[in-house]
């Protein structure tokens, strides 16, 4: 009996694989996420040194040698984002006061937990680039977590988390979700041009910008190459608002509506899908947020 089974094992295996590959929908493969996590952990000791070596050989985007300057630039970026957030918060509170007067409930602000983590692997498919990060549920990562890179550049959201690892999907990944953003027209002014950006699959985001006119002159207010675009998407945690999506690289007329503009935005950090480390921000919810 045993020899017959061993002779048929390859055939049985191939049939089983064909069924899994061709007939079982993706939602029934979720058990494989557990296996992926375990394999990722096993591969991390050898993968991460190679990632760091690769980043060093590539001369990766932001130089980490001048740490003081980098910290200074980050501080400036943080203060700028905080300023815009506070001004936006002021505008929101004004509206809340008006809403309270008509009896609506107030929404509380949202503190975050910050965690720096290394990237130990990348999705091996060009069709779906993801980053595998050495931080998971045990370190407080939740489905609400998102990642940023130096300069408060938004990297992406956590799409899967295991006890000690998590998977990030970069905002520039092909097939990714559309993002609501804002083209900042002048420094410190949170009232910019709203836009909806989708990933192009070539490391950039592209999408239409709202058509707005100057009330004084009726001239069209248009985006300019080099302006900063910030995240202003209600589907993302509040803590992510006004973080950087990138800079306007190109402005073109919309093919469907020539009077409207379409912008191409390039992230300020090159190669979001090849970073060697990220900073994870996790909004702190409910009881945990109380002082």
């Amino acid at each position: 009996m045993a020899p017959a089974l061993s002779q048929r094992a390859p055939t049985i295996t191939v049939v089983l694989l064909c069924v899994l590959a061709l007939a079982v929908p993706a939602r029934f493969h979720s058990w494989a996420d557990w296996l992926q996590d375990k394999v990722s952990l096993l591969a991390a000791p050898i993968a991460q040194p190679l990632v760091l070596a690769g980043a060093w050989l590539r001369g990766a985007g932001t130089s980490m040698t001048d740490e003081a300057q980098l910290a200074y630039e980050e501080k400036i970026g943080f203060l700028e984002s905080e300023l815009l957030r506070q001004r936006q918060e002021n505008a929101r509170l004004t509206q809340v006061i008006r809403d309270l007067q008509s009896g609506l409930e107030m929404v509380r602000d949202q503190p975050v937990r910050v965690l720096q983590a290394g990237v130990f692997g990348y999705g091996t498919e060009a069709r779906s680039p993801v980053l595998r990060v050495q931080a998971g549920k045990e370190q407080g990562v939740t489905p609400q977590s998102f990642a940023i890179a130096p300069g408060l550049q938004v990297v992406g959201r956590v799409v899967a988390s295991a006890p000690r690892t998590c998977t990030l999907k970069p905002i520039t990944a092909r097939g990714g979700e559309a993002l609501a953003g804002m083209v900042i027209l002048s420094q410190g002014n949170p009232d910019g041009l709203r836009c909806t950006l989708s990933p192009t699959g070539e490391g950039t985001l592209r999408g239409p910008v709202e058509d707005r006119r100057d009330p004084a002159t009726s001239a069209s207010i248009e985006p300019v190459v080099g302006q900063t675009v910030r995240l202003d998407d209600p589907t993302w945690p509040k803590a992510a608002r006004m973080l950087v999506l990138g800079r306007v690289e190109r402005v073109e007329p919309s093919p469907d509506q020539p009077l409207r503009k379409v912008i191409t935005v390039r992230p300020t950090v090159a190669g979001l899908d090849r970073l060697s480390e990220v900073v994870l921000w996790t909004p702190i919810m409910g009881e945990e947020a109380r002082p």
Partner: protein, 189 residues
């Protein structure tokens, strides 16, 4: 065949795939990158005997499935699908087994050629499987684009296999495979 040797080699090549293939060796932002796992599968298929190439290709293909997230247009965003890479690796290595009889296995260029052709067939099978899955799964893929990227990756894999053959051929005995090194005073060439 030495299972310990194969496990160690798999661990190293998996690390190379995760840590070097896309981050360092990818051609720009094209997505064209080599597959270290397939090079190992091709080597075992070229030199292995019995069922070793089959089970090795299966194992390496399953690892490739686990490491390759497939993008979805649904809110989930991504999924791990077991089977496509495993089947693709099996078909690719079967081609290598069919061709190895007419090749000079000691020559590093042989591994490059076999890895390239095997990987090309493997990518065609992979894209075909994912294309069929699009009937019932919301996959975020473009079959034509992915096929071109895959074929470019196969060529890249073949090119990379040549220098790796210089390491793998002498290490064949470590993996428990028949030595591919020429022996002095050997009766056979």
């Amino acid at each position: 065949m030495s299972r310990l040797g194969l496990v160690l080699a798999t661990w190293v090549f998996l690390g190379l795939d995760l840590g070097l293939s896309k981050p360092l060796l990818e051609l720009g932002a094209s997505g064209v990158a080599p597959s270290f796992l397939f090079i190992l599968a091709a080597f075992v298929a070229m030199c292995g005997t019995g069922r070793a190439p089959f089970w090795t290709a299966l194992a390496l293909g399953l690892l490739a499935d686990l490491m390759a997230d497939v993008g979805l247009t649904s809110p989930d965003g991504r999924a791990v699908i077991i089977g496509p890479h495993a089947l693709a690796f099996l078909v690719g290595t079967q081609l290598i087994i069919a061709l190895r009889g007419v090749m000079i296995r000691r020559n590093p260029l042989t591994l490059g050629f076999l890895a390239c052709t095997g990987a090309a067939v493997s990518q065609i099978v992979l894209v075909a499987i994912l294309w069929v899955r699009m009937i019932f799964d919301p996959l975020a893929i473009s079959p034509t684009h992915d096929l071109l990227v895959g074929l470019g990756g196969a060529l890249y894999t073949g090119v990379l296999a040549v220098p790796l053959a210089l390491v793998l051929l002498p290490a064949a005995t470590f993996l428990g495979l028949p030595s591919q090194q020429p022996r002095r005073f050997s009766r056979h060439a």
